[in-house]
Amino acid sequence: MSPPATERPDLGAAARAAGIVLWSAFLAAAVATMLCFAFLDPAALSNGEAPGWWTSRLRVYAVGFFFFWLVCLLAAGLSWYLGQPAGPRRSQ
């Protein structure tokens, strides 16, 4: 592997957009997880109807975080996508 001299490779617009979307969704998901589990105790909700993976609080917290991240990713990704200027219409 040859090292970059003084310059690093340009990641490209897509990778940078992905970075922004991932990162902002991560921040929002962290807040959502905190708020959600401050008010809901997974252990109190684990009656017979809970899914199979609902085994410990830590596990539910972690699954919850990734769930929120996914939903926030969807929102952030869609915002980015719709915020893009639409290209010129090709009528031909």
């Binding site: 090292p3 003084t6 310059e7 340009d10 970075g19 401050a38 105790d41 609080r57 917290y61």
Partner: protein, 466 residues
């Protein structure tokens, strides 16, 4: 009206090919201040989880048990309001200090700055100073380069893993965690979060560095809104410095020549790779490395210090600088009242809480002797630091009986006591025989040893309507 001179606009794309920044090490007043800050903050971070309070960890955000321990205090999910309150105080404090001192947070206290500084020290230890590092990166791979890069990676990775371990130690008892590591019996999620946080530290402090401040940090984007002409900023004194140019030591500057000798030290030490002489820039994290560098050079050439210095826009324009401005007074007043309120609220926090949940399966039950029974689950939470004995009462529009009656509940410190309880009431008024119907009743929990400690909760009592 005179035509205004066209403002000079430095246009640059938000994202451009990234040049690796090799910050040169610097010594001086502000570098010492930052070193002190790094040691204090990292010291707190790495040592705090090991501190004991009685027989438990002094600071532990015990997520599995849903309890936060901070020194002598125990916080429960019911105390969530305090966390929100604390976050608002933190945000307001950031506004307050930004309005007065500019980006003090970025330069001295931000975890990104602090860990980057620590990673830079390790880099310098392994690869040498700025010229050596640049040379090493350009050099072809040989044994020496491999050895130095390996040493750096070993230092970085071990430090990052230790950081991840410490981080998880705030959420799960660190001594037990250390024991699990020693016997290689850690839980899956603990391993995951140690690696996750370790990797985040390694990536952010080792590689991303100033790019986090430039592209990822929301605060860096909006901090400008808190600035005004009296905010402390790090500025190059253009009036005094220009026109810049080299000159020999001890030689008086030529007429019209400014104090800047164009040694470019201020650029070389900058962790974000900017030239402060181009004016205030959003990339500047106000670390003051350029001040130290310039002061050193000014001492050498025999000119007064402060060509680059902490100053305000007003001071630069020879206008008076005011510390007390409306925004500072407003932020300060809000901050003081919020902190005061927070301290009072935490101190006066009820040491006990009571939840009453109706049994969902049956609405009520009629007994043979003309009474109505409702069943509840009562949860008593003892937030104090010692065991307490409680008595429970219920009151409504007509006499209520608790079953079991007259019991005392002994609840250990920091424990939740959950019990089923039956409340019995007559279905009809004994005199008029009128239907009493459903009503809202009040449960009162009292500490047996302290009449002042009591808490009320309302619940619905259901009964037949006719």
């Amino acid at each position: 009206m005179n035509a205004l001179p066209k403002p000079e606009v430095h246009e640059q794309p938000l994202y451009f090919r990234h040049q690796k920044v090799y910050p040169r090490e610097v010594s001086g007043r502000y570098a010492r201040l930052r070193t002190l800050s790094v040691w204090v903050l990292l010291g707190i971070f790495y040592l705090l989880p090991w501190l004991q309070w009685g027989d438990r960890q002094a600071v532990l955000f015990d997520l599995p048990a849903r309890k936060f321990f901070i020194l002598g205090l125990v916080f429960w999910p019911q105390d969530f309001i305090f966390l929100t309150w604390l976050l608002i105080i933190a945000a307001l404090a950031l506004f307050f200090f930004t309005a007065i001192g500019g980006r003090l947070w970025c330069g001295y206290a931000c975890p990104q700055t602090v860990w980057t500084e620590a990673f830079l020290w390790m880099e310098q230890l392994a690869e040498g100073d700025r010229p050596a590092r640049m040379k090493l990166d350009r050099a072809p791979w040989d044994a020496r380069k491999l050895a130095r890069k390996t040493l750096k990676q070993v230092l970085w990775v071990s430090f990052a893993l230790w950081t991840g371990f410490t981080f998880v130690g705030f959420f799960t008892p660190i001594r037990a965690l250390a024991g699990e590591i020693a016997t290689l019996s850690m839980g899956g999620w603990e391993v995951f979060w140690v690696l996750f946080y370790g990797f985040a530290t390694y990536g952010n402090a080792g590689y991303l560095r100033e790019q986090v401040c430039k592209y990822m940090c929301p605060y860096a984007r909006f901090q400008g809104a808190m600035f005004d002409r009296d905010t402390l900023v790090i500025t190059y004194d253009t009036e005094r410095g220009e026109p810049r140019g080299a000159r020999r030591r001890g030689v008086e500057p030529l007429a019209k020549q400014g104090d800047c000798v164009d040694c470019t030290w201020c650029v070389q030490v900058c962790p974000t790779g900017i030239d402060i002489r181009d004016g205030l820039q959003i990339d500047c994290i106000a670390c003051a490395a350029c001040i130290d560098a310039c002061d050193t050079v000014m001492d050498k050439v025999g000119s007064p210090r402060g060509l680059i210095r902490y100053t305000t826009q007003n001071a630069l324009e020879h206008k008076p600088t005011r510390v007390l401005r409306p925004r500072v007074i407003l932020y300060g007043a809000l901050l003081t009242s919020l902190i005061g309120g927070f301290v009072a609220a935490v101190a006066l926090r009820s040491p006990v809480s009571l939840d009453v949940l109706r049994d969902r399966n049956t609405m009520y039950r009629l007994t043979d002797d003309g009474n109505v029974d409702n069943v509840y689950t009562v949860r008593i939470l003892n937030k104090s630091e010692h065991e307490r004995v409680f008595v429970l009462e219920a009151s409504g529009s007509s006499p209520l009986t608790l079953l079991p009656a007259g019991r005392e509940y002994r609840v250990p410190e920091g424990a939740i006591y959950s019990l089923p309880i039956r409340v019995r009431r007559a279905a009809y008024d004994p005199e008029s025989q009128a239907v009493l119907g459903p009503e809202t009743i009040t449960f009162t929990l009292r500490a047996a040893d302290d009449a002042d400690t009591s808490v009320d909760t309302e619940a619905r009592f259901l009964a037949p309507i006719k």
